[in-house]
């Protein structure tokens, strides 16, 4: 493939890209542009699709809305709570599973199961686990003399409950990705490190971590983006409410409320746009950090 692109080859290339591109443009790109524009509608007749006035009113409005601020805060807490723990846990489990252990395939399946199970089913199970009177979790906590906690009804515990479930749910996917990354690290480096006198821990910090860094980087970007977009878990776990007293109100949930419940299309678009900017900034920050610490072969 040393040929230079010609008009003919470019055209042929586009032809292959067309089917996927068409779908992406219609269902992703066009709506993104429309919602971006919509966030600037200040006076809008949505029955006749006539915009009377553009402006920044929506941006001013949502930042003055205490619910939106709560949503931002909750989303931030959620990301902070889920992402680091999930990465550490899944990396740890992946390293264990990567060892030559018996039934490794069985455990891999077990850990991957939550990921393929529907969020609604998972949430039903977890709302039972979290049940304040009959829940499994409170039952275990009872062994240690801890009084029953109203996980889903106490505003102080709703967010932790959501975080725990989300970590558990996301674990499988991350483990699989980490396992793939671990299996890409050649056995010879470990043998060489052994001969060079590196203990198991030294081998982990000096070989596994640096050579796994592209995977860690990938998983952390995906996890953060997914964390900011959290919605289904909230909706399903709290039966279509954003938790008690908005304690689990996330940005996407806020968008959903504005769009489907209050028909405030402008505000919903604005919130979506703000979320997009936040995710964009975080991704840029990660790319900058990644360039310094991530080693690519």
């Amino acid at each position: 493939m040393l040929e230079k692109p010609t008009w003919k080859s470019t055209l042929k290339g586009f032809l292959y890209l067309l089917p996927a591109l068409l779908i992406l443009i219609i269902f992703n790109i066009y709506p993104i542009i429309r919602s971006f524009l919509m966030s600037f509608y200040t006076d809008y007749d949505y029955f006749n699709d006539i915009v009377h006035e553009y402006g920044f009113d929506n941006f001013i409005a949502i930042f003055q809305d205490p619910n939106f601020i709560t949503a931002l805060k909750n989303t931030g807490i959620f990301v902070l709570g889920v992402v680091p723990i999930s990465i550490f846990l899944s990396m740890g489990i992946a390293v264990l599973l990567n060892n030559k252990i018996k039934l490794a395939g069985f455990f891999r399946t077990i850990y991957f199961l939550p990921f393929v199970t529907s969020v609604v089913a998972v949430s039903i199970v977890w709302s039972w686990i979290y049940h304040s009177d009959y829940g499994l979790l409170n039952y275990f906590l009872g062994w240690f003399g801890i009084d029953p906690i109203a996980w889903l009804n106490d505003p102080n515990y709703a967010m932790p409950a959501l975080i725990i479930m989300s970590i558990w749910k996301g674990l499988g996917f991350n483990i699989i990705i980490f396992l793939a990354g671990l299996q890409n690290i050649g056995e010879q480096y470990y043998l060489a490190a052994k001969v060079d006198g590196a203990s198991a821990w030294k081998r982990f910090t000096n070989i596994t971590l640096p050579l796994l860094s592209p995977t860690i980087f990938f998983v952390s970007i995906i996890s953060i983006i997914n964390g900011f977009k959290v919605f289904d878990e909230v909706f399903a776990l709290f039966n279509g409410r954003p938790g008690p007293a908005n304690s689990a109100l996330t940005v996407v949930y806020y968008i959903y409320q504005k769009f489907y419940e209050e028909w405030q299309f402008g505000l919903a678009s604005t919130a979506a746009f703000v979320l997009f900017i936040i995710i964009f900034i975080f991704t840029i920050i990660q790319l900058v950090i990644g360039r310094r610490f991530v080693h690519y072969n």
Binding site: K194, V195, D196, A198, L211
Partner: protein, 360 residues
């Protein structure tokens, strides 16, 4: 420090990779483990390194029994076939790695690493990453990394097999030079006989997990102890002719050729006679072998002919001064001391005795 192997055995599932090896590698010696693939030479090296633990038997470094000691603690240097340089570390950091693991102060570690880099002549490449080096340079880094911690033993696992032919020649001389400069005991695994014969003090030829012969390179070539050793060494390979005992000598199978050997230690029913192609010469004066030339090829300074005797084809490297033609009949002979005899049943060498001595 001598390395002693005592009845060393390694069994993988149901395959015996190394079978009861007992030998000693002397201090400062460069020993080659030579053999076809799957003969157990690499396994033996892995056992020496401690990366594998033997099924039975012992390994001694000097007086110390290291059989159960982990690779981390054996104090060995190893060069892997694919070099296994840490891809995320610079050349300098790669060489410093073993010292870092030993908690040598950073300044000292850096000095020692640089010294070692000079020894292997890569002082100008210290800031590069392994991916930016050529095969030969990576090889040098791997040697420097193996030697920097001043190990007792240097183990080399087919270190030249990933290099191109010319570089291989250069690097094997380099390995020899470095080994002698440092004065380290080295064990070198290879499947390439030329490599083994050219650089080692001693060669151990292995097959099916058993050492077939261990001796100095020339001796192994001149006096193979069994048929396998004879056939493994030499290129083009040795001619092995199966001969059956007849009344007063041996007869080549399916031919009228019979030969009289009166100086063998024993006379089994069937023997294999080995003569290296270069040990033949063309003669008209009562040659041992006569046959039709079926092929002639000239490669550089050598002329290789193939001659048909009955069902047997023999190869001979002959002097180009003889004007030979395909289809012509030709006589070949070899000096008595260059003819090897093996018992067909056991494959073992049959010694020759001085003429007359036998019946004395």
């Amino acid at each position: 420090m001598d390395i002693r192997l005592n009845n060393l055995t390694m069994v993988f599932d149901d395959i015996t990779a190394v079978d009861q090896i007992t030998t000693t590698i002397k201090d400062g010696e460069l020993v080659s483990l030579l053999g076809p693939s799957g003969c157990g030479k690499s396994t033996t090296l892995m056992l020496l390194s401690g990366l594998y633990k033997p099924t039975s038997g012992q390994i001694f470094f000097g007086d110390q029994d290291v059989t159960k000691m982990d690779a981390e603690k054996r104090g060995i240097g190893m060069v892997f076939q694919n070099y296994a340089l840490y891809p995320h570390l610079s050349v300098l950091k790669n060489i410093m790695f073993p010292l870092k693991m030993k908690k040598v102060p950073k300044k000292e570690a850096m000095e020692r690493a640089k010294e070692m880099a000079e020894l292997v002549q890569i002082g100008h490449l210290l800031d590069r990453k392994p991916g930016q080096l050529s095969g030969g340079q990576q090889q040098r880094v791997a040697i420097a990394r193996a030697l920097v911690k001043k190990p007792n033993v240097l183990l080399l696992d087919e270190p030249l097999s990933n290099l191109d032919a010319r570089l291989r020649l250069e690097m094997r001389e380099e390995i020899r030079r470095i080994q002698q400069e440092v004065g380290i005991t080295a064990v070198f695994v290879t499947h390439d006989q030329e490599e083994a014969l050219s650089i080692s003090d001693r060669v151990m030829l292995m097959k099916s997990g058993v050492i077939q012969q261990e001796s100095r390179p020339q001796e192994m070539y001149k006096r193979p102890e069994n048929e396998f050793v004879a056939s493994f060494l030499g290129n083009p390979p040795i001619n092995l002719l199966t001969m059956k005992k007849i009344e007063n000598g041996y007869q080549l199978e399916k031919s009228a050729h019979s030969l009289l050997f009166s100086n063998l230690a024993t006379y089994p029913k069937s023997i294999r006679v080995g003569i290296r192609p270069e040990d033949f010469f063309v003669t008209k004066d009562n040659p041992r072998f006569t046959g039709e030339i079926i092929h002639i090829e000239t490669i550089g300074r050598d002329t290789l002919i193939r001659m048909q005797i009955g069902d047997t084809t023999i190869r001979a490297l002959v002097d180009p001064v003889h004007q030979l033609k395909v289809g012509a009949t030709c006589g070949l002979d070899g000096k008595e001391e260059n003819i090897h005899f093996f018992d067909s049943a056991s494959g073992q060498r049959i010694e020759t005795v001085e003429r007359g001595e036998k019946h004395a």
